[in-house]
């Protein structure tokens, strides 16, 4: 197989995984009463208004109505955090807010509570274009691109081999998607639950028989930052449904 090409997918040829789904799965995502991701959004809304014991403050006490204050926020994450001097993703931002503003314990990666809050915040950006314009993200986008194009694992594959060079073709009966993170956290029918982009990346790495990075590691954040840049301008779908 050719080395990962430097040729990225032309902007006009990019497509969401949504386009390759069956009519039934599309209908499931489009109807908020059929989209199981909305169960997490409901939990997230309750969590948004729940006061933490230490400070007696809820997310809503600072941020108000999420429909206004969180509109478009998920579309520009991972975002550069000047205080930490590195990008943080939405899950990371929620935990920073919990630790610093609410003096509450950080929520565990992939826990129901963290997924619910993330889904609720991400839902407020549905339909808005993904933004990646902050110049400070550039080195992280580059780092992410290098990880994306680096061969790894026993199968000696790079992400780009499937998602840049062979999207639209079949892998074990499934259409290989371009891998745009437009709908995270999303409900995957295979998982029978909601999962984050990092869980999905972990899934792919295990499939390549590579060792996965730790949740919230610099590598995952860099990959997320690159993938969001790669999907810039595409509309947010969270919480999406995928097979």
């Amino acid at each position: 197989m050719a080395v990962p090409s430097a040729a990225e997918i032309p902007l006009a040829e990019r497509r969401s995984g949504y386009a390759d789904m069956s009519a039934a799965s599309k209908a499931m995502q489009d109807d908020d009463t059929a989209n199981p991701g909305m169960l997490w959004v409901l939990d997230g809304e309750a969590a948004w208004r729940a006061k933490t014991p230490a400070t007696g403050r809820a997310c809503a006490d600072c941020h108000g109505e999420a429909a206004q204050s969180m509109r478009g926020v998920a579309a520009r994450y991972p975002a550069y955090d000047a205080k930490r001097g590195k990008p943080v993703d939405l899950e990371g931002r929620i935990n920073i807010c919990r630790l610093e503003q609410q003096q509450a314990a950080a929520l565990r990666p992939e826990s129901k509570e963290l997924l619910a809050l993330t889904a609720y915040v991400a839902r407020q950006s549905r339909g808005l274009p993904i933004e990646s314009t902050d110049a400070r993200l550039k080195p992280y986008i580059e780092a992410g691109r290098q990880l994306f194009e680096r061969r790894q694992g026993q199968l000696n594959l790079a992400c780009a081999h499937c998602h840049d060079n062979n999207w639209g073709r079949k892998l074990a009966g499934n259409t290989v998607p371009q891998g745009h993170p437009t709908g995270y956290p999303l409900y995957r029918l295979e998982w029978q639950g909601l999962g984050s982009l990092q869980r999905r990346l972990r899934n792919c790495l295990i499939g390549m028989r590579a060792e996965s990075y730790a949740f919230e590691s610099a590598e995952f954040i860099a990959l997320e930052t690159y993938l969001m840049w790669r999907a810039r301008g595409m509309p947010m779908e969270a919480p999406a449904v995928r097979p």
């Binding site: 009463t33 199981p36 909305m38 409901l42």
Partner: protein, 106 residues
Amino acid sequence: MPRALIKVPARAKRGEVIEIKTLISHEMETGFRHSNTGTAIPRDIIKTFVASYNGEEIFRAQLFPAIAANPFITFHTVATESGTLEFSWNGDNGYAASEQVKISVE
């Protein structure tokens, strides 16, 4: 706390066939799986779903371990009169959830 999403048309014409969609959060643990340490994970599923229209049962379903998590049940009924549709789910470990939705029929 169980979360349910229900879609019932708010208003309908008398005699009209309406579609009802229900989605409820539940793990639907099959009882066939084992944990990392080899112990069996006990079954925990919803066993029955019942829908009633102004007190009269209009739909009933029995659920089994093969049904996926967060069961999504869709069915049709005839809008006969204004009132309340009540949905209830019952299952293992004393699981019980119910929801009510109003409908107005003209």
